[in-house]
Amino acid sequence: MSRTKTAGETGRAGTTVTAGPVPATAPARRTAHPRRTGAALWALPPVAALALVFLHPLALVVWQSFSPEDGGHSTAPYATVLAEASFREALTNTVLIAAGATAGALLLGPALSLVIAFVPLPGGRALSRFIDLFLAFPSFLITLALLFLYGSVGMANGLWTDLTGAAHGPLDFLHTPWGVLLAEVTYFTPFVMRPLLAAFSQVETGQVEAAASLGARPWRIVRTVILPEALPSLAAGGALVLVLCLNEFGIVLFTGAKDVVTLPVLVYTKAILDGDYTGACVVAVVNVVLSVALYALYRTLMSRTGGGARPRTGGASDRAGA
């Protein structure tokens, strides 16, 4: 049977190919530059929109923070605001409450997530869905609910006064830093749980079972198998909560904690109550810098500890020759 030889077969036989079609790379190179230009044109509208609605107002805030009321532009507003005791107190409150709430969420979140993910509970799936729903709740709603429960005339104190006949209940902490902390831990714990539950669902049952068959008790399995695999998700949830807590305003406002002034509350006070827009912009810039710095720190730590996307074992791509 005869058949036509292909160019590849001729090449294998040792024939030198001296003529042929022009390589396809040449015209491709010629079209590369217009393509890049086209891509840039496509990117222009979203970048312009972003600049208009986000970067421009942010730039105005920064510009205003360098504009003293007596005219001109200088760093004098920063020197003034940073020297104020109220600013230092707000900064301290913000950092302490954010760190405390993050620590609380990082303790409570994994514990609750482990129960939901690994303990066969009736309604476990519904509970997991509720976590998603919880994320959509406004923060003031949680604070309001806590007021109903633990407020000075809330249910807990009402029960106490009914039982003991006392005039006042023992719980009176919601308008203190501890009340803000409780509200923030309650509200932000699901922000740690959501990525953790996703990470736990990716842990192979086989790994848990292999660990158990090798003699590991449940706590050792959690400590040495499950949590290390979920560490990037835990860190991501923690970083998110920390940044959100630094900027939280509604919870502090709704608890009615007058003595608990945080940076967002100070911005509100200076801008709306005192009419000090320059001072408010200085505090806002400090708040933004703090958030961005913490996010950068988180990214650096994650990249150094290899907490990014990790290839899993046993996948189809691993089924290579030994």
Partner: protein, 386 residues
Amino acid sequence: MPAPATATPGRTAGPPAAQSPPPSGIRFDQVSVAYGKHGEHTVLDSFDLTVEPGEVMALLGPSGSGKTTALRAVAGFVRPASGRVLIGGRDVTGLPPHRRGIGMVVQQYALFPHMKVAENVAFGLKAHRTPRAEIPGRVAEGLEMTGMAAYAGRHPRELSGGQQQRVAIARALAIRPGVLLLDEPLSALDAQLRSGMLAELARLHRELPEVSILYVTHDQVEALTLADRIAVLDRARLQDCGTPQQLYRRPRTEFTAAFVGTANLLPVTVRGDGVDFAGRTLPVPPGDGLAEGAAATLCLRPHRVGLGESPHGGGRDTTLRGTLTDVQWRGSTHRLYTAVGGHRVLADVPELRTPPAPGEEISLHFAPEDAVLIPAGRAEDGAPHV
């Protein structure tokens, strides 16, 4: 009835030094496992089986036959609805997995991705609170045994599938278990690697003759190659159990005959001097408990069927005449598909220089001693106790 545990696993090399032999041997005592709100879905039904110390027992069956459930019952990951599981003579039915002292290797290796190879192998030793000074030596021993010593510092993601499986085996063996559970350990590997790993597993078992191995597979080649005995499961029940040779040459049920190897299963009627098939009486040895006139199934392995008239005359003539419907060339053999009395008969014959063409009338024959008579519908009977 197949012979009880008569197979003696190979013992060519001594085990690694151990303080005391770990409990070995497994016994399923009427184990039933059921799922569903009211236990209405039975996945393992009154399962009786004994795996002797040092024996390799393969659980062979199709998907959903209950073989993995049986293995998981030994591991402690499923709780039997009734019955007992014993390891080394000790009832472990109520024990949690971490207190059973078993090694387990699963299909997808289940290595811990955040740990290096050496840390994976050391995991079980740490969990068992092995003295700290002893761990590096035991890890090295396990990795040496599986040929993975050079990869101790790598992460699982840096290994191929075959290498990961070796690490999983080293990890399971490092704790020196008396019982090793292998759940389709080679099914994620390609055919060439699987063949190599089968030889590796056979070698490992020769080096660790005291370890009982329960090997779950749906691959009959793996079971026939590695196992001292094979338990065949279907529809949650034990159908048959015996040595690979027994099951292949003298299957007790139609299911075993069809599942272990390829078989011609021909409906016959028992007569005093043989069986009636396709209008003639074939001289085959009588089956166990088959009275004259009983319906039975004649099991003939295709490679035991020859082309041409029976060379035996008189009372040993087993010639079957039929029409060739198809011929397949398979390299060293030809497979002939022949219609005999309305039934299809397969014959695997050495490669023919001039094979007959479909539509031709041909003759086939077999040696009477190669035929096995199975009572019709034997697979539906109660489970055998072995």
